[in-house]
Subunit: 552 residues, 2 copies
Amino acid sequence: MPQLRLALAQTNPVVGQLSENLADCLQMVKDASAKGANVVLFGEMAATGYPIEDLAARRQFISDAEKAIDQFASTLLECGLADTAVIIGHPASIKDQTGQNQWIGATNTASIIFGGKVAAQYAKHHLPNYGVFDEYRNFKPGTDLVVFNHSGMKFGIAICEDIWQKGGPVSGMKNASVDCLLVLNGSPFEISKSDDRLEIIREVAQSQDCAVAYVNLVGGQDDLVFDGDSVMVDASGAIIGRGKQFETDLAIFDIADKNHIEPVLAEPIEHNDELWQIWQALVLGLRDYVDKNGFKSVILGLSGGIDSAVCAAIAVDALGSERVFGVSMPSKYSSDHSKSDAFDLAKRLNIDCRTEPIKGLVKPVEKQLRATDLAAENLQARMRGVILMTLSNLEGHLTLTTGNKSELAVGYSTIYGDSVGGFAPIKDIEKTMVWRLASWRNDSALQSGQTPPIPKNSIDKPPSAELRPGQTDQDSLPDYVVLDAILAAYLNERLSRVEIIARGFDEEVVLRVAGLVDRAEWKRRQGAIGPKISSMSFGRDRRMPITNKYSG
Amino acid sequence: MPQLRLALAQTNPVVGQLSENLADCLQMVKDASAKGANVVLFGEMAATGYPIEDLAARRQFISDAEKAIDQFASTLLECGLADTAVIIGHPASIKDQTGQNQWIGATNTASIIFGGKVAAQYAKHHLPNYGVFDEYRNFKPGTDLVVFNHSGMKFGIAICEDIWQKGGPVSGMKNASVDCLLVLNGSPFEISKSDDRLEIIREVAQSQDCAVAYVNLVGGQDDLVFDGDSVMVDASGAIIGRGKQFETDLAIFDIADKNHIEPVLAEPIEHNDELWQIWQALVLGLRDYVDKNGFKSVILGLSGGIDSAVCAAIAVDALGSERVFGVSMPSKYSSDHSKSDAFDLAKRLNIDCRTEPIKGLVKPVEKQLRATDLAAENLQARMRGVILMTLSNLEGHLTLTTGNKSELAVGYSTIYGDSVGGFAPIKDIEKTMVWRLASWRNDSALQSGQTPPIPKNSIDKPPSAELRPGQTDQDSLPDYVVLDAILAAYLNERLSRVEIIARGFDEEVVLRVAGLVDRAEWKRRQGAIGPKISSMSFGRDRRMPITNKYSG
């Protein structure tokens, strides 16, 4: 019986950076080969990064990607790796009947590289065009089934959505006597999605009577975070082993036949808990946005409150203390604890923190424009925005904006004020989850004998924007437990006001909250991107008109 | 021979405002009936407005739309209009085999209302999912052909994209012996699109040997502007008459047979010129955003430059002088003419204009933060943003941001500075077109014996941000004629840097411009919406990743 050793290679590509992405892949093949692997499977679009969005409509880009794949195949040959079958994802142009490229669009393709060249190609059949996905916009569907033999086994190919849809290539695996289905994926992290994936993968394995090797990308790309979490399942649906979650990784398996697979190098089957996963997603999303876009450091306002504290802790976990800069910007309404809690946080995180009072900057504007009430409140937030952006311009930091999902939902923020910044680390985290994450992060520090990063006072005190004396969030918003429950029903379940009220929520509160959500759409459109961790992130998953008079 | 009088009804719906939209439609049917019409055709989604985006995923919304259509049919009966065939667009839920609603998504539907009820329904086959359209995301495709008889003629139905695609319902009209194809449209304005539409319509008429009645919506919906411009074509492809462009309208035709059609009430066939069309699109886009979202007035900074002058002129044409407020915000670097040109403009437009110097507001920030160079330049722009937003908060105006497409493309603007505002009237107008529009608007004023609104000096002087002494745009950007040509090649044609250089542009300039475009993506994502008039508007038509290292 021939020896088959399969490597699942989780890489972290940068969109558009072809040569560097493929250099990482080459290193992975070398490492896998050194460990005896003779088949190496990469993720969806591992060569180009994913999603490429409208880069798919640039002919030169598709052509460059195809040239880079040919070059990659040649390089594998030069490196003595021609006998390793390498399966890698990239966009490809559609060929005409004579095999020539014709520009009628691109396909989402997997190339099977062997013997120093592209031996076969498979184009994704099912193009997801819901949620965060726009593949029907960017690609043309494939129609052919591709199977190939290697080391005495028969392999089939599928790409991501192909295994989530009935019919199509996956349903033909059993008839084609495929031993192992290779699946290339670009599947963004979402709470509990790992379990959903496993269920689908096991169902495919059992229904098609074949082993399934599932490889996912790793890394942050704008507002998506790919979590790796590759998995090997045998034909009975049993999980043999996994790739790391939220890290690049190489997981290796020996496959005797579809029912006899042994892990050579793999992670255990059990996952860390949900809060750990969410925290890692936020850390990776921020780190990759900062590093892939070439920022040396980040700056953020530290108010003493929970949101900025959690953002600062995420930033330190992502970038290290020396790359995170805090600014305390007290106003005449700021409490003493807002300053002391900010500096307590900075001390715990060992980050730079300076004080830039806004009183003397706000006063001349307030006086010249005779600003009062809401205008005066917003003015304070906007002057803080001016300070952060000026320091960003002077010192080269990326500005982080610290608003949470609950605030963003109801527009409880000042546009061009506390919303300024290029990245919003907790944009998809509702307020009640911000508290849970803060406590979880402190607990996990305690468990490993470290200082809890977030001051207890920031967790315990009533949230306040401190834009007028004695203000708290609950002056104008319902309790966050109630607010978040209404938001989940309105946003995630897409229920009507009447249906939400029927669940027992106060009618007046439901109508007010839903109205606030609708009216804040214009602000959200101008907001920074931030890592998606829910099934209904703003912007990618939920795309609503600004001009919208529907109130059902 | 029975008498057939067909009315093409162009309405201006507001997304989500079902009862008011249908009240407008009822009035149109009454007017048409009073003029003897017995068939009334409305636009695509005339009941709900278009595009409804992810409202399509809210079950209650689809159900409410269907109930509203049933109610509309009953009202027609009550009003003695049961013998008039009314064809109207709206979303509908998909029915199961027993005729019950099942929630597997919505279709983009046309209902044929007759005898006080919905007599038949047609669901759009071809769902556009390119450019500004996301219909594959929001709808399920229909599969059936619908024809019906009325007044001795046979009618077919198609919805918008259906006539742009080969195959599908339109190709079956000749076989079905259809006399007149009724087409419901939600076709956004684009330069020269009116001619493209006519070509398609005439081709369908000739190939299917039937008359074609084409009705389009009117009005602004966020960044789209629907221009009406409905048209009646006979089976030979001859244009019989049109609806108004950029206005609600009722065009009426007597149809003896497919080859004998007479206008009863219609616009002439010839169009106004392109600059007129663009100006009307910008005016309508702004007016509808302001009015549909309930703003009483707009405010904008007047720099004395061409961009703010053109925006102010558009605003006055859209809203009237009394609803437009200007603010001159001179800095220590502002030239005398920047102030005098701003006030000259205000006088010509008869709008309120005040002066709010920024010197005394910028200085304390500059001093406290030791801001110099770019940080100090941006600070001035940001303080102007603070002033505009504070006045907006105090007085309730919508803030307009006056950046043009060329600036937006290369990021030549200060985020949270001159970019602040809820709507960007000239967002899709490149700088060279701004100048053309300004001259055109002045000429058209002269021709009608009015004062040209835009000061000649604002048109003639070299453009400058005036953020440092003696600064002009051309210190850091190529001449705008060159810049706009490179941008057209890079954005609209999606050419590579190499291809653009091969056209004869300077290599260093091309590389710099393309690099600026790529790096400004994060700013554009946070920018205000504004009316699309080109085939490649930012945001709707061009959707690119922020993190993107491709440089081909």
